[in-house]
Amino acid sequence: MAAISRRRFLGLTAAVGGGALLAACGGGAPAPTATPVPVAKPFATVAPTSAPVAAGGAAGGSTASSAGANAAEPLITAKPPQRPEPITLRFHFRAGGDKSEPAIYVERPGEWSQVTGHKIALEPIPSGKEYPPKIVALATAGNLGDLMFTSVSEANHFFFVQNKLIEPVDDYLPKYNIKKEEWVSAIIKTLTIGGKMYGMPKASNPAEAHFAINLKLFEEAGLKKPEIYGNSFDDLRNWAIKLTKGPPDRRDVYGIYSHTYANQAVTNGVRARGADLIDAAGEKSLVDSPQFNDWLQWNYKLYREDKVHPMPDVLKPGDSNALAGMFAAGKIAISQIHRSWMVAFKTAVGDKFPWMFVQHPKLPNAKGWVANIDTHSATTQSKYKDEAFTLTYALADRRFAYVVAKGQGYLTGRVDNLEAIGPELAKDPFLQIQQKCTEEEEPWWIAKNLRQLEVEAELLNQLDTVWLGKRPPDKAFIGDLKKALDDVLAKPPL
């Protein structure tokens, strides 16, 4: 079907608008009576089933759900010194976490409160763009709480460290007999800045290092069940072509979704081919490498030549819920998947069809996946630093690994994850792949001037011109992209 042009649209609009105006000027004609739309009954209110919020102190009974497999595990291993009176810790976290991650923000803090007798006041802050400015505003006013969520994905962790908002943990680790070797080395390397370690890792995930596979569509297309490891980029592309159904301009089934709308996904794609997006010093882009070009061409073919990849008009970039919905509806056969999208995928697919995960293809000389780390960090403005530290450790220890795997369905950054979560949970194939990918992680590149978000915005906006067919992925494009990224990296530090 031909697409409408802007000129034609304007012409049609003028005609329709003019007609409407004439009709309005004519008056007289009574307004048509609207057909009443039946009013749907409101949804039944569901009473919250989660345990009382940790602010209530000892969250009675909240441990019952997780006291099964690892009942032998002590609830809290690092206990702060006794105080004559209970205190209340102020805990900044991403709004909605107590609902979407109750294991982390209700259950586990409840256990800490139960053992220490101290209370925790959860102070939610909208996540994403709003989070860092709110933290900065609180800090500027001298009103920062005792501990907070941070993330390396937008470099806000490093920004907070640089501005001395986060308390280093080096003095507290030996005091509570905690060894850095509890977590994978990429985490320790990433969180160690200027010789000091900042923050306790809530989790470290390899981002989009996995693909979900609809086995029913594979079977219908006459394809055999893929291996979990060792698939090639050509395998994925060939499968995608065979799995795609419908006319090229509007597919009924898209063969593949390859995530090209996040710096971490692009970085993983380039690293899987043996290079990186930005140099280790965070000063120069490496997009003029053959590996980046290979990544670019591979995705360009999926988008523009094979037309087996949904365009932004079909699937809004980064909309993981819509992606999970399309995968569950059998509209996308192979979907790259971020660790944090797992719950949405599992919920959407349920038992509609058999499916599996495979690892992102990688060449023999591949570099490690990005270490996408979230932390909980004690703040320098806290008056209760020992308590704040022990709570951050309770949100990173062995029992935490178990509680998170059981409640949230993903792993933390611990080396002993599979042991800590117990044999039953460790059977989950996704957790097994995730652990392997986590162990293969390498520190993520960080822009030396900390302008991570600007680098990402430049990268994704420039790539948009290729995916949307405005520019070919040629040398000129790569030259322009490199210059644009290098210009951002050359800006003064934040």
Binding site: M1, A2, A3, I4, R6, R8, F9, L12, L21, A24, C25, G27, G28, A31, K129, P132, P133, V136, A139, T140, F159, N163, L165, D249, M311, P312, D313, V314, K316, R451, L453, E454, A457, L460, N461, Q462, D464, T465, L468, K470, A484, D487, P492, L494
Partner: protein, 311 residues
């Protein structure tokens, strides 16, 4: 009425009763005065100072002179890109908005049957919160499932555009959303008030003299509502240069920076990169640009705006 400077009497020359009265007056306006000083005057002056500094919020500002301004004009590629997008926006939305509002006001002023209903219908979109309107239109303009493309396909057999997901269509789509909320709002009411303030005798005299509808429109209606047009033009330019919310909510400046407006760039620099010094410089450049355009408008208005009371 010509403006006259009113000399305030010196404080010393006031009698005790007049002084008390003056103090009471100040006391009564003090809530506004304090609010103005604390939340408008001080932040403006502070941002002027910050615009000459490297200020990262969590550390004290460091004076850098004109560096931020020089970087904006000579070093920042997104500065000129965002200026270009914003100028296109202003050029498209201000005339269309004024013309649309005037047209709506003229229709409502005709005394047709059901005028109250039309007035309400026209005004309702302007009451819709920006975010709600943005989300509503995101659905309407959904390329695959939206009602807009369904209508286009149904009426013409052609495939509708990708609207907000298309580099060429994103800005016109946002302009369409913006006009939907703006045309029937306060601007329309101002025009309506202007139209209703025109003495009917003038129209009757013109009719007696044999003037047709077009001549009446150009020689009576337009001159007499020119103050309203001027007022809406000035406000329209100011508000259009500040375009932010729709792009922030709907497109985040994309795709491929097709809707990356100046205010979005300012916000990104100041509140996402915490480059508050540079963000302040961008804010002052915007302020001065709008100020110059407004003064220019005021000067040009002498040639085409007709104030009956000054004749």
């Amino acid at each position: 009425m010509a403006a006259r400077a009113v000399a305030l009497p010196a404080w010393r020359s006031l009698t005790p009763a007049r002084r008390r009265e003056a103090l009471q007056g100040l006391l009564f306006i003090s809530p506004w005065l304090v609010g103005f000083l604390a939340f408008t005057a001080y932040p403006m002056l502070a941002s002027l100072y910050y615009s000459f500094s490297a200020y990262k919020i969590l550390a004290p500002p460091v004076w850098v002179g004109l560096r931020n301004y020089a970087y904006a004009f000579n070093g920042d590629p997104l500065f000129w890109l965002s200026v270009q997008r914003t100028v296109i926006w202003v050029v498209v939305t201000v005339p269309l908005g004024i013309f649309g509002s005037l047209l709506a006001a003229v229709l409502l002023n005709r005394g047709l049957k059901g005028t109250n209903l039309y007035r309400t219908a026209f005004f309702l979109p302007s009451l819709t919160p920006t975010v709600a309107a943005a989300l509503l239109w995101t659905w309407i303009l959904n390329p695959r499932f939206g009602i807009a493309n369904a209508a286009i396909e149904g009426l013409t057999g052609l495939r509708g555009p990708n609207w907000l997901a298309d580099i060429d269509w994103a800005l016109p789509s946002l302009a369409m959303i913006s006009l939907w909320t703006a045309i029937g709002g306060n601007r329309m009411l101002i025009f309506l008030a202007g139209l209703q303030g025109i003495p009917q005798e003038l129209y009757e005299a013109a009719r007696v003299d044999g003037a047709g509808p077009i001549r009446t429109w150009w020689n009576i209606t337009v001159p007499l509502i020119s103050p309203a047009i001027f007022f809406n033009l000035v406000l329209g330019i100011i508000f259009s240069f500040r375009v932010f919310a729709f792009a922030f909510v709907v497109t985040e400046g994309g795709p491929a920076r097709a809707t990356y407006f100046y205010a979005l760039h300012l916000y990104t620099m100041a509140f996402r990169s915490f480059d508050m010094g540079y963000g302040s410089a961008l804010a002052w450049i915007l302020f001065l640009t709008v100020l110059v355009l407004t003064v220019l408008n005021m000067q040009l208005s002498k040639r085409w705006v007709y104030y009956e009371s000054l004749r």
